[in-house]
């Protein structure tokens, strides 16, 4: 309500002396408050991005800086014509689609549980559901790797009824490795998505639910016609954030397979060129392409699905 009251004040006298001074002062104050954060953002995000774009145009090896030379878009040509890039891209897309889809369904279920739980249970439940998200990704990756490892893991003996034998090597083939990687990712980040969805669920007005109930709508009908349409914005924001996150998957792959059996993701490819091969130029080009993919995903979501980011904050 305060927003609608404030607005006319500046509209009354857009060119007036005092009003203009006040708005100028406010704008100045705004810059004073946000300025330091803006500068820090420029330093820690914009500068490395610009540097990476610049480096990606060079044939530059960390151990041989004297022979660095400008190659234009040559590095991008090498990457985009290499089947390794497209395999990694496919694997990354697969992990993203599978994990986000499963997490959305699971997360929604958990959000419903959290919303409808008894008041006394609610805080405990929320904490319990959040625990996996609090675990550091590398630690969770190691835990899952140990669980599924053929020599020290317990999965092979516990799940023999599902067809696992003591000799099932979960990290020996692409399919099984990706299965475990996706499982670890889902376990870890479902709480995140369910929290965002819970915020959305809480926004659905009770009045609408009650009206639908009075009209004789079933639970399923209320979910589809009342709940989901009213929290569409929250769902899209949750999916967007998680997709961006999932597309950059690195830790689980690094720990579990180190990229063996065609489980390399795009971030892993960037790591391998930049850190392992110390080919800064080529690696920067991979990073820039990863960045562009992420930008493209965001643009698709925001423009294509008309996601309003401010909705997530309940403004």
């Amino acid at each position: 309500m305060s927003a609608t009251l404030d607005r006319p004040v500046s509209a009354v006298d857009p060119s007036g002396g005092r009003g203009n001074d006040k708005s100028r002062a406010e704008r100045k104050l705004g810059w004073y408050l946000a300025g330091p954060a803006f500068v820090v953002m420029l330093l820690v995000t914009a500068y490395p991005i610009v540097q990476a774009v610049f480096d990606s145009l060079f044939d530059y090896r960390l151990t041989d800086p004297q022979n660095s030379s400008f190659v234009g878009l040559g590095n991008y040509g090498v990457i985009l014509t290499d089947s390794v890039w497209w395999t990694s891209f496919g694997v990354t897309t697969f992990i993203t689609v599978v994990t986000v889809a499963v997490e959305l369904v699971l997360g929604f279920g958990l959000a419903l549980v959290m919303l409808n739980a008894l008041k006394a249970l609610r805080p405990v439940l929320r904490t319990v559901i959040l625990i996996p998200y609090a675990v550091i990704t590398v630690v969770s990756a190691f835990a899952w790797q140990f669980a599924f490892s053929v020599d020290s893991g317990f999965v092979n003996s516990w799940f023999s009824f599902l067809g696992a034998t003591p000799e099932t090597d979960w990290f020996g083939t692409q399919g099984l490795s990706l299965f475990v990687i996706c499982l670890a990712e889902i376990w870890k980040t479902t709480p995140f998505i369910s929290l965002l969805l819970l915020a959305g669920l809480a926004q659905v007005p009770d009045v609408l639910q009650e009206a639908a109930k009075v009209d004789g709508a079933s639970w399923w009908q209320r979910l589809r016609r009342v709940t989901l349409p009213n929290m569409k914005a929250a769902i899209m924001v949750a999916v967007l954030f998680r997709t961006l996150d999932a597309f950059r998957v690195f830790d689980s792959v690094f720990v579990m397979t180190a990229g063996a059996n065609n489980t390399e993701t795009v971030s892993f490819l960037a790591y391998r060129q930049t850190i392992e091969r110390v080919e800064i130029g080529l690696g920067s080009a991979v990073s820039v392409l990863l960045f562009l993919s992420v930008v493209l995903i965001s643009a698709l979501f925001i423009k294509g699905f008309k996601v309003d980011l401010s909705q997530a904050r309940g403004e």
């Binding site: 044939d59 090498v78 290499d82 390794v84 397979t257 392992e276 091969r277």
Partner: protein, 433 residues
């Protein structure tokens, strides 16, 4: 007025803080220069040697250790990135032998004084000298030298009727293991250990992965993988894979996993480093392993590929480099002489199980008592061949790991050609890795 005073106070405070910080930074360390030694993780041996050499220096320098990551490739990554930024805190570093050419070529190593070089050549196993040399110059000091042996369970082998006093070939042990339904543990994980295995097979068959060692231009590096010895190496890997003698989890098995499966008796044969002996002995001391298990361990030279040609076992270990940006290169080189002294080498062998690069250490009674296989290790080190020496080792090794994994499924000929094509393209920066 009040505003101004407040501002003045703030400025005065800021000046005081900055001055205090500057004073903290610039306060010169008192006492002898501190040499920082970047070590690979071990059982505390290098830290102890650092303390001993500090004591022996009589106040001329002190050595502080700083531990690098666990994997050799990650150790290299950290050192390379630091040295590329001219890090002067690196005085001495423990370098895995295959990365020596890269460090030397990039100018990351301080030039070795002639008297240090002369001392570093004395009493050393030849393979460790070879692995410390780049373009005819000794660029690092050999510290300890590792090699893989063929380990076997005496009881199992006796039942098979194999005479392990005679040289054995891969084909022979694969056949024996298959007939007796037992396993041969080898490192199948996609990592450095796979390159170690492939290189040992190629060298044992009389070939080399890189045929023109010392070439600086990556475009001109010539690969020998498609030559008959390379094909023969791939054939051994395929025979091994097809015979069903690989342990479960072979595509992810590393040295530690294999030590477990050999200790548990699942595998009757294993190619691995001597650390497994110390591992079994400490398990006995802790009471988690019967004494009869290490008593059943037998060892011999790495298996041959060709019946009439001695094998070329893998060579590992650690060499000591002195950082090019160190403030005390002369003291650092002096310290390497102390670190690699016969006494410290023997101590390191006995306490940490890491064999010395010094020949004389293998005659040390204490070493012989602790490591009865010491003479076999020395013989193995005499035959051992280093991994391909090139400043682009990470690319060559990465290319082999990508194309030869999983090692049981290689196709002799096709895999060799794929590896050659990939490594060549990667060296020309025309492909990703």
């Amino acid at each position: 007025m009040r505003h101004q005073r407040r501002r003045l106070t703030a400025v005065a405070l800021a000046v005081a803080v900055i001055a205090a910080m500057a004073a903290a930074c610039s306060s010169a360390p008192s006492g002898p220069p501190v040499l920082t030694w970047y070590i690979n993780p071990d059982d505390g041996g290098q830290a102890e040697i650092a303390a001993r050499c500090t004591a022996a220096a009589g106040g001329r320098y002190t050595i502080a250790t700083s531990t690098l990551p666990r994997q050799a490739s990650e150790q290299r990554q950290q050192l390379v990135r630091r040295l590329a930024a001219n890090d002067s805190s690196i005085d001495i570093m423990s370098i895995d032998p295959p990365y020596v050419p890269e460090f030397a070529q990039a100018g990351f190593l301080a030039p070795m004084p002639p008297q240090v070089a002369a001392a570093a050549r004395e009493d050393r196993v030849p393979s460790s000298i070879e692995a410390s040399t780049w373009q005819g110059q000794l660029v690092v000091v050999p510290f300890w030298a590792n090699t893989q042996l063929l380990w076997y369970r005496k009881s199992a082998v006796a039942a098979m009727g194999l005479d392990m006093n005679q040289p054995v070939t891969w084909d022979r042990i694969i056949q024996a293991a298959a007939q007796n339904r037992t396993q041969i543990a080898a490192q199948g994980v996609r990592g450095e250990s796979l390159t170690v295995w492939v290189n040992a097979l190629v060298e044992s068959a009389g070939g080399s992965i890189i045929t023109n060692v010392g070439e600086e231009n990556p475009d001109l590096v010539q690969l020998g993988l498609t030559a008959p010895p390379g094909i023969e190496a791939a054939r051994v890997l395929r025979t091994y894979g097809d015979a069903g003698v690989a342990p479960p989890g072979f595509p992810t098995a590393d040295e530690d996993t294999n030590a477990e499966s050999f200790q548990s008796g699942d595998a009757s044969f294993m190619v691995n480093y001597p650390f497994i002996w110390g591992k079994a002995k400490s398990a006995v001391e802790e009471g988690t392993l019967q004494q009869s298990v290490p008593d059943d361990y037998g060892w011999t030279l790495y298996p041959r590929v060709l019946p009439d040609r001695p094998s070329a076992p893998p060579l590992g270990g650690i060499n000591l480099g002195v950082g090019a940006f160190s403030n005390h290169p002369d003291l650092a080189y002096e310290a390497t002489t102390c670190i690699t002294s016969p006494e410290n080498s023997a101590y390191y062998f006995v306490s940490n199980g890491n064999p010395s690069s010094r020949l004389s250490v293998f005659d040390d009674p204490e070493v012989l008592a602790e490591f009865p296989m010491a003479p076999t290790i020395r013989e193995s080190l005499t035959l051992a061949a280093p991994r391909p020496q090139t400043a682009y080792y990470a690319e060559v090794s990465g290319g082999i790991q990508r194309t030869f994994h999983p090692p049981g499924s290689v196709t002799p000929g096709a895999t060799n050609e794929a590896a050659t094509a990939l490594i060549t393209a990667v060296l020309r920066k025309e492909a990703l890795l």
